[in-house]
Symmetry: C2
Subunit: 217 residues, 2 copies
DNA sequence: CCCAATATCCAACGTCCGTTGGATATTGCG
DNA sequence: CGCAATATCCAACGGACGTTGGATATTGGG
């Protein structure tokens, strides 16, 4: 039960003084592996090897493989949720200043999202795998994904009400752009896309916004 | 080497006369399982059970598990490629009749795509899983996905040249809409989406086209 | 300085999986 | 009808995997 905590300040330390394994290190390494290859294709011995320790050490720190998997999702999605919740609040603040600043705020929000996913492509890998497992993604969607989606939809609805843009289907609009970003990041995961693709996709995302939400006539 | 062929007309037939296992039946069942749960999560014994036969029978017909996996992709993607290639040709034909009919042709093309994926959601499952495996999707992308993408991009480029719409980034535009459709179909795979979501998504896809490609001023 | 606590590793257990050899029943052909 | 071919099943093998018990080295607190 004292698993998945920071290493005790109390007594006890490894045989090798230079190598202090923490649950964070394990979860970080495991998240990258799970995101790229999936739950079943990654073995506990492989996670251990990625951390330079034995299998039993991994189990000692994180418990079962399923628990490790959940920890990876919780850690990665919590980071995403935190970063984007802040960005959503910022975007909402700059919404009542007329159509021009409102669209700039939306551009900024999309940029933050793209930046985050480009910086941590494993988030895309984990989300897509989760969405491909119908029976598993329910709770995580409710905890991490849905609140974010809902917040962004609300931003769109407010902007709609304020008359700065028109969006009759915020639910689908948000998901459409989100999945487009994920498609882009999958190219980064595989190493097929580089700096040029990043620039091109960013201009595309901005154009997507500009065309989907043209200034009211 | 005589694996993966239709059952011989020659001698030899099963113990049970009512149950004639063909490779097609096995591949069909396996494709659904692989699409929903992934390669590693599906066992050969499970595929066999889905067909009502023994594991050895499956191996007798399809060879190794990897070969079965490849057959599932080839079979499903070939069907998709055939259906869409026809639709692309139709769309291209109705392109030179001015902006109005050209947009109608694009709507029709998108409808065919949505229809196909809604009818066979396992296609989305297989594609997404393939795209999540960086080292594996290269050949299949080259054989099935890229030609289709290229054809659609060419349609957009021709329409652009003909002055019926404006699309500076056909590559990303096509992928964006395709992934939006996949996102919709993932909801169908999990059973979360129903008839109402289908209607809503269709109108969204049409609005996407209308807003991304407004009639030239 | 000693002791309790513990992080680490080694070895092993039980299970499941992909795959195969061989036996058997069924079929088409001459 | 007899024979060759083969589709099917049963049983098993080897390996990989998740997990654990126990031994050992290392540490902080008294």
């Amino acid at each position: 039960m004292e698993r998945m905590t920071t290493p005790r300040r109390g007594p006890g330390r490894p045989r090798r003084a230079d190598q202090r394994t923490t649950p964070e290190v394990i979860v970080e390494a495991a998240a990258g592996l799970f995101a790229r290859r999936g739950f079943d294709a990654v073995g506990m011995r492989e996670v251990a090897a990625a951390c330079g320790v034995d299998v039993a050490t991994v189990h000692h720190h994180v418990g079962t493989k399923a628990a490790l998997y959940e920890c990876c999702f919780a850690r990665v999605f919590a980071a995403e949720s935190e970063a984007l919740t802040r960005a959503v609040a910022t975007a909402r603040a700059g919404l009542a200043d007329g159509p021009g600043p409102a669209m700039a705020a939306l551009h900024e929000l999309v940029d933050v999202f793209i930046d985050f996913l480009e910086d941590r492509p494993e988030v895309t890998g984990l989300w897509l795998r989760r969405w491909l497992e119908p029976d598993r993604h329910a709770e995580l969607d409710a905890r991490y994904s849905e609140p974010l989606y809902h917040a962004v939809e609300q931003v769109l609805a407010e902007a709609d009400a304020a008359g700065v843009l028109s969006e009759p289907q915020p639910h689908l609009a948000v998901r459409s752009l989100v999945w487009s970003v994920h498609a882009h990041v999958v190219g980064l995961l595989s190493g097929a896309n580089g700096a040029r693709q990043r620039r091109e996709f960013r201009t595309f995302a901005h154009r997507w916004l500009d065309r989907m939400y043209p200034p009211p006539a």
